[in-house]
Structures are given as structure tokens and as C-alpha cells.
């Protein structure tokens, strides 16, 4: 039943995506970023399959050693294998990043939609969000970690909560501006109910900016985790993260800079890639930029 023209039209989205870099004149940066990120993600994901040591295994006789056959990147202050810790740390750091991004975007979307829709709730919600915004996020995060103990979830939670108001504001502003769009007014005229308009017309508009925001949150979460670890309010060292590997390593910065260099490099590369991809996504999704390109 499929006519050739239909087949082409089905393929079109795919073709559009494939030709995106060329059409947007993106240059090579985002492509490299994507490849780097993919490598980091895969390497972290499959880390348990190939790491030479248990990242927690202590070797008291081989502390702070340089690279060797047994320890490809050397060992840390506990005699644990740096290589294994860095790749396993990547798993956790990425998990924190993605987790924080998903949770804050998810919660922010719901709260933002509610706020954009229920005018009465809006005032209250926005005051609470303003208050949360006003509290410096790092202090809030330290306090939250202190509250819940340095478990993975409490760190994610501590990173997420300060991000939520930003997401809520974003969603709300998209909802409020989209409400003025003629096609939304047309939908009102067509008798669509408010929840339906909200979900079918307005919510999809938030997805693009939320995707962009999500990448930034993901990047910043990985970074904030490192800072929390640095300040002594991070995840326990039993769960290696790039952040706490660096935080532990900073004591030995001058005698073993590699302890900071490797996790720092991975972290920076990873965040760099995510940010670059986020920028690219934003450029692609920003209608104003699009207009200018046209």
C-alpha cells in the first residue's frame, strides 16, 4: 500500500537528521564531541568487563605508584588501581549527571506545567521556586548532603533540587509564551480542553529547550559532584566518582599529579562534549537562529 512518495516522506526525518551537520554548517566540533562522549559512555558502561582490578581493592604495599604492568595508570593513596577507579568512576559520575538531569527535568516539567496552567498555584509555586533560586545552590547542596549522608542518592538529590527552579521557570515561560500563539488560541476556539492544550500543544514546545537544559544540567551535575567531593560533602570513596577521585588525589597533587590529571581529563572531556552537544542542540532548536540562517 505504500506508494514511493510515502516511503520517501517516511524516510525524510531520518534523512533530515543525517544531513543535519551539513545543513547547519556545524563544523567538525560537535561530531568529535559526539564521538568522544560515545567512547566515554561505552567505556564506562562496559567497565566491569575489562577493568584489571576491583576499584576498591587495597594494596598497602603499592601506594601512590606510577604506571606499571599491573597498574596501567598507577595507584592512589590506598594502593587502589587508578585506571579501574577512573573508568568505574565514570560510570557513577555519568549516572549522577544523567540522573540529576532526568530527575530535575522531569520534576521541573510537571511543576512548570502545573504552574503555567493553574494561575492560583502559580503564585505559591513561583515564590517557593524564587526562594530556592535565592539560596546559593552549592550551600544548599552541601547542607542536603550533610542531611542525608554522602550516599549516591543524596548527592543526586542535592544537585537536583537547586536545578529544579530553573527548569520550572523555563517550562513556565515556554507555556506562557506559547499560550499566546495563534495555534493555541485556535485550539481554544476548537473547544480543546485546557489540560489537552497543555499536554498536546504546549508541552511538546518545552521538550526542545528542556533537552538543551538537560544536557547542561547533566554537565553541571558532574561538575557539582566534583566540587561537593572537594568540599568534603561528596559520595563516599567506596563509590568512586571522578569527583572524589580528584578530591582524594588533590592531597597528592604535587607528588602524583596524575591522580587529578586522569579523572580531571575524563571529566573535562566529558563535560566539554556534553556542553558542545548541548550548544549544538540549542543552535539547531532555536527558532530565532534558524530564521537567521534562512
Amino acid at each position: 500500500m505504500t506508494t514511493p512518495s510515502q516511503a520517501v516522506s517516511h524516510l525524510q526525518p531520518v534523512l533530515r537528521i543525517l544531513s543535519l551537520p551539513r545543513r547547519m554548517r556545524l563544523g567538525i566540533g560537535p561530531m568529535i564531541a559526539a564521538v568522544v562522549l560515545l567512547i566515554i559512555v561505552l567505556a564506562s558502561l562496559f567497565a566491569p568487563l575489562y577493568i584489571p582490578h576491583d576499584p576498591l581493592a587495597i594494596d598497602a604495599l603499592h601506594r601512590l605508584k606510577g604506571p606499571s604492568e599491573t597498574y596501567p595508570l598507577g595507584t592512589d593513596a590506598f594502593g587502589r588501581d587508578l585506571f579501574s577507579r577512573v573508568v568505574m568512576g565514570g560510570r557513577v559520575s555519568l549516572f549522577i549527571g544523567v540522573g540529576a538531569a532526568l530527575v530535575s527535568v522531569g520534576l521541573g516539567l510537571v511543576i512548570g506545567l502545573v504552574s503555567g496552567f493553574f494561575r492560583t498555584a502559580d503564585a505559591v509555586i513561583m515564590r517557593i521556586m524564587d526562594s530556592l533560586m535565592a539560596i546559593p545552590s552549592i550551600l544548599l547542596a552541601i547542607a542536603l548532603v550533610a542531611l542525608n549522608g554522602p550516599s549516591l542518592w543524596s548527592v543526586i538529590c542535592a544537585i537536583t533540587i537547586p536545578e529544579i527552579p530553573r527548569v520550572v521557570r523555563l517550562v513556565r515561560s515556554v507555556v506562557l509564551t506559547s499560550r499566546e500563539e495563534p495555534y493555541v488560541e485556535a485550539a481554544i476556539a476548537l473547544g480543546s480542553s485546557m489540560p489537552k492544550i497543555l499536554w498536546q500543544h504546549l508541552m511538546p514546545n518545552t521538550l526542545a529547550p528542556l533537552t538543551v537544559q538537560g544536557t547542561y544540567i547533566c554537565a553541571s551535575a558532574i561538575l557539582v559532584e566534583a566540587i561537593l567531593s572537594f568540599l568534603g560533602a561528596g559520595v563516599s570513596t567506596e563509590i568512586p566518582t571522578w569527583g572524589n577521585i580528584m578530591a582524594e588525589g588533590r592531597l597528592y597533587f604535587q607528588i602524583k599529579p596524575m591522580l587529578i590529571f586522569w579523572p580531571g581529563l575524563m571529566l573535562s572531556l566529558c563535560i566539554l562534549s556534553i556542553n558542545l552537544l548541548g550548544d549544538t542542540a540549542r543552535d539547531l532548536l532555536d527558532p530565532r537562529l534558524k530564521k537567521r540562517e534562512a
Partner: protein, 313 residues
């Protein structure tokens, strides 16, 4: 205008109230006992209990909250549970290093970032643009403390140009202040420059596409005038906004930088207080920084009307 400011100030009240309640509850629900910290390693549970009672920590929460708020209204931020000195004098002692460093950082950042952003927007899609953008993405991607350590390693240890750490009040010795403040400020500025340069570029790109820029060019004015006289002022509102919201970022940077460079500012005071559960200090600091954040953003909102005559309140 006055009415607007008045309304904005009124709107601050619920925000600060929520912050106050939130922070208070957050801390009191936190496991952690200042008494245990005061008493040290060898204390017994009975001794801890006595200290708790004497600190008022065994009163019911609402009573503790009411006491705190009552004192707040009298301008009294309380007494540090740990050091037994007044919180306001602790803050007063330690706020100046932070303010001096922060102000210097902002000045430095704006001076660096705005021209960078303008240049990048002007030379959109050229190597200049890519260089500025790469820097600004990089600035976001490296943890502050790593930047700090790199600076220390390079400028203090290898080159021996600048001191490793510390702080001297500018009133005491301005040259010394500068020499000690430069590395922390540069460290702090990295992320701030990245942020402002990005926003300047984006905002300039938008403005440069506007009709009046074309009009200016049609008049035959030079590019410098187009960029800095016509475009920049129009692009300034989002740049100012980001400087305001970036204040939060600055705070988190300050907390870390003060640790790396050993600056006796309020950032470290707060972190130490949180780790030591020094409730009055934490409450005062979070309240103060929140109020400062709100106030700075209020100031920035009001300053919009100076930049853009269309904005009137």
C-alpha cells in the same frame, strides 16, 4: 519607579521568609549535633546532653524558631554555637575578603568577557568566534579547584611570580592585596568569563541581526561604533541579567576558591559552619546570601531602565 522598587522589595519578603523557614527546618532535621563537636572526642553522652540543654537545642522547634526570628528582628543574628562569638561580628570580620575578591573578579570578568563576546559575535563563524566559544565551553568544563591548582602550580610554584595563598586587606597593603588576590580572582573569573562571554556573544548576535544595526551601517559609521555604541548597549540587558544570576555561580566558586587559596572569607565560614553544624552561622549565612542574591537581582532589574529607556516601571 519608586512604586516599582517598593513593590519589588515587598515581594522579597515572602521569598526570604520561605528561605528562613526552609533553612531552619533543613538544619534542625539534619543529623548532627553541635554539642558533640564542641565537646570533642572524649565526651560521654551525659555530658553531651548537658551541653545541648545549655545551648537551647533541646527546646521545641517552634520555640527555637521564634527565638531566632525575634532576635533577627532586633538585628541580632545570634551567637555561634561553636566559637561562642556573635555571628554578626564573625560575618563582619570575614565578609570583606569575599566582597573584595568578588568585586575584583566581576570587574576583571566583565573587562575580559564583554570584548571577547563582542568580538566573537562580530566575527561570527570565524576562528575568533570558535576560539572564544571553545574557551567559554572549556571554562565551564573544568572544576574550579583544578583551575586553581593549575594556576598555583604554574604561577606560584614554577614561575614564582605570585604568592601561593593567603589574603591581605587592601587597606593594609594594596600591592600585597593585589598580588595575593590575582590568582583567586583569575580562578573565579574563568567560569564567570565563560558565562558572560557566551551571553554577550548570543545577545550581540541577536542584536547584530536587528534593523537598526543595518541602519547604522547604512549611515556609514565605523564597525567599532556599530558594535560598541549601537549594538552593545542594546545587548546589555541579558548580559546584566546573567551577571546577576551568575552571582550564585560566583558564590559556589568563592566557596571553593577560598579553600584553595586560603582566603578567610564567608565562603569558608559557611562550609565550615555546615560541616560543624553551627546552626546560627549557617542560618545567618544562607539568609544573608539569599538576601544578597535577591537584592543584587533587584538592583540589576532596576538598572535596566538606565540602559534601556523603553523600560519604565
Amino acid at each position: 519607579m519608586i512604586g516599582y522598587i517598593f513593590r519589588r522589595v515587598l515581594a522579597v519578603i515572602p521569598v526570604i521568609t520561605i528561605v528562613a523557614v526552609f533553612v531552619f527546618l533543613l538544619l534542625r532535621l539534619t543529623p548532627g549535633d553541635p554539642a558533640a563537636i564542641i565537646a570533642g572526642d572524649a565526651a560521654t553522652p551525659a555530658q553531651l546532653e548537658k551541653i545541648r540543654t545549655s545551648l537551647g537545642l533541646n527546646d521545641p522547634l517552634p520555640v527555637q524558631f521564634a527565638t531566632w526570628v525575634k532576635h533577627l528582628f532586633q538585628g541580632d543574628l545570634g551567637i555561634s554555637l561553636i566559637s561562642n562569638t556573635s555571628v554578626s561580628s564573625m560575618i563582619a570580620d570575614r565578609i570583606w575578603p569575599t566582597i573584595n575578591i568578588a568585586v575584583l573578579t566581576i570587574i576583571l570578568s566583565v573587562l575580559l568577557a564583554v570584548p571577547m563576546g563582542v568580538l566573537a559575535a562580530w566575527r561570527h563563524r570565524t576562528w575568533v568566534d570558535y576560539a572564544v566559544m571553545s574557551f567559554s565551553v572549556l571554562g565551564f568544563s573544568v572544576p574550579v579547584f583544578v583551575i586553581g591548582y593549575i594556576f598555583i602550580q604554574v604561577f606560584s610554584i614554577e614561575l614564582r611570580w605570585l604568592p601561593v595563598q593567603g589574603y591581605t586587606a587592601p587597606s593594609q597593603d594594596f600591592a600585597k592585596f593585589l598580588s595575593k588576590a590575582i590568582l583567586p580572582c583569575l580562578t573565579l573569573a574563568t567560569i564567570y568569563v565563560a558565562l558572560i562571554a557566551r551571553m554577550t556573544r548570543a545577545s550581540m548576535l541577536e542584536v547584530l541581526g536587528e534593523d537598526f544595526v543595518r541602519t547604522a551601517r547604512a549611515k556609514g559609521v565605523s564597525e567599532t561604533v556599530v558594535l560598541f555604541r549601537h549594538a552593545l548597549q542594546n545587548a546589555a540587558v541579558p548580559i546584566l541579567t546573567i551577571i546577576g544570576t551568575g552571582f550564585a555561580l560566583l558564590i559556589s566558586g568563592v566557596v571553593v576558591t577560598e579553600s584553595v587559596f586560603n582566603i578567610p572569607g564567608i565562603g569558608r565560614l559557611t562550609v565550615d559552619a555546615i560541616l560543624a553544624r553551627d546552626y546560627p552561622v549557617i542560618q545567618a549565612m544562607i539568609l544573608l546570601t539569599s538576601a544578597l542574591y535577591v537584592f543584587i537581582n533587584l538592583l540589576i532589574d532596576v538598572s535596566y531602565s538606565l540602559i534601556d529607556p523603553r523600560i519604565r516601571y
